[in-house]
């Protein structure tokens, strides 16, 4: 079920990227898509009945059932990269707005 929901998020994000020429909205679309992909990777690593991959007083032994820690490590990386991409993209958007006075790519035109 979570996999289906994450697919829905990916499709919504893709629609957001394709349907507009506004730079800020494209960035929002990229972020929605990224959240969908992250949830999907976590869902792939899920194990039925598995505990969170942390040894603790409640789950003391490594022979118990745990969910996949590699998928979670990957998603941690992906979130950080996403933050960097979003920050850089927002500054680029501000640059575009400063130079052309608009966030809409179709209003910028070719040569100026």
């Amino acid at each position: 079920m979570i996999k289906f929901a994450s697919l829905l998020l990916i499709v919504i994000g893709l629609y957001g990227i394709l349907s507009t020429r506004n730079v800020i909205k494209i960035l929002v679309g990229i972020n929605v898509m990224e959240i969908g992909i992250n949830i999907f990777i976590i869902a792939i690593g899920f194990v039925n009945g598995g505990a969170a991959p942390i040894l603790s007083v409640d789950n003391p032994g490594s022979l118990l059932k745990f969910v996949d820690p590699v998928a979670q490590a990957l998603v941690l990386t992906s979130i950080v990269i996403g933050l960097g991409v979003t920050a850089l993209g927002l500054v680029f958007a501000r640059k575009i707005h400063k130079k052309h006075g608009t966030y809409d790519l179709s209003e910028i035109g070719g040569e100026s």
Binding site: L18, S19, F46, I54, S62, K65, F66, A73, K98
Partner: protein, 247 residues
């Protein structure tokens, strides 16, 4: 017209993904257990270099990584080199933001912050800072670690920016802290290269699983990452605030 076309394309993409996924892994089913010889099962049992028996929380001495949190053991021990690359990517993003935002024109636009925010930020700022530091020093025992802890430190500075329109963090200090943390990470890797023969090898004794002082270099790496990420994201926030004021 454009929207219809975009919608069709997105739906087509979704259908292709749907078919591919339900053919290979199944859309509504999850793994019953991890594969026997997968990397993940070795990371959980901490037996990448050979069988070591069951790891018991609070008892096992000198396990392979000694980190109770398996995600942390993947990030800061088994795949520490990847994390070094990841931190570099974040550094490059912060560098790009500061280069682009620094070249904006000057000019002033004042915002007014509310009274309640101003008063409560004095109480909340130290609490958030201490929670962030707690999270990245306990990254090998509890959920969290260097990246969430660093982000929490940065968000405490964001609170200060929102509360006081004249507040400016010391950007130079943050840049120095970031540089020192990044260098320390590489130096730690080189020490591992000299001591154990591999870059970023866990060369310290790993102690009892579940203790605060356990895991060898993992807590050190996570403190370094926490400081680096915290100062980097604070730098990004500072650059964006400067840019907003100047624009």
């Amino acid at each position: 017209m454009k929207r219809v076309f975009a919608g069709l394309l997105a739906v087509a993409f979704g259908v292709v993904l749907l078919l591919g996924i339900s053919a290979s892994t199944g859309l509504f089913s999850y793994n019953e257990e991890l594969l026997d010889d997968s990397a993940a099962s070795h990371y959980i049992a901490k037996d990448v270099n050979g069988d070591t028996g069951e790891i018991i929380f609070g008892e096992t001495m000198d396990a392979e990584t000694g980190s109770a949190n398996m995600v942390t053991s993947v990030i800061a021990n088994y795949r520490s080199f990847d994390t070094l690359g990841e931190v570099t990517v974040l550094f490059l993003a912060a560098l790009g933001v500061s280069l682009l935002a620094g070249s904006m024109d000057k000019g002033r636009k004042r915002r007014k912050s509310g009274f309640i925010l101003k008063v409560s930020s004095g109480i909340l700022f130290p609490l958030m800072l201490v929670t962030g530091i707690y999270i990245f020093t306990h990254g090998h025992l509890t959920p969290g670690g260097g990246f969430p802890g660093g982000s929490m430190i940065a968000s405490s500075f964001l609170l200060l920016y929102l509360a006081d329109e004249n507040f400016r963090a010391n950007v130079r200090g943050f840049k120095i802290a970031e540089g020192i943390a990044g260098t320390l990470y590489v130096v730690l890797g080189i020490i591992g290269l000299l001591a154990g023969g591999y870059f970023l090898i866990n060369f310290l004794p790993t102690g009892v699983v579940g203790n605060l002082f356990s895991g060898g270099i993992i807590p050190i790496v996570y403190v370094i990452i926490g400081l680096k990420v915290g100062s980097e994201i604070t730098g990004i926030i500072t650059d964006m605030f400067n840019e907003e004021v100047k624009a």
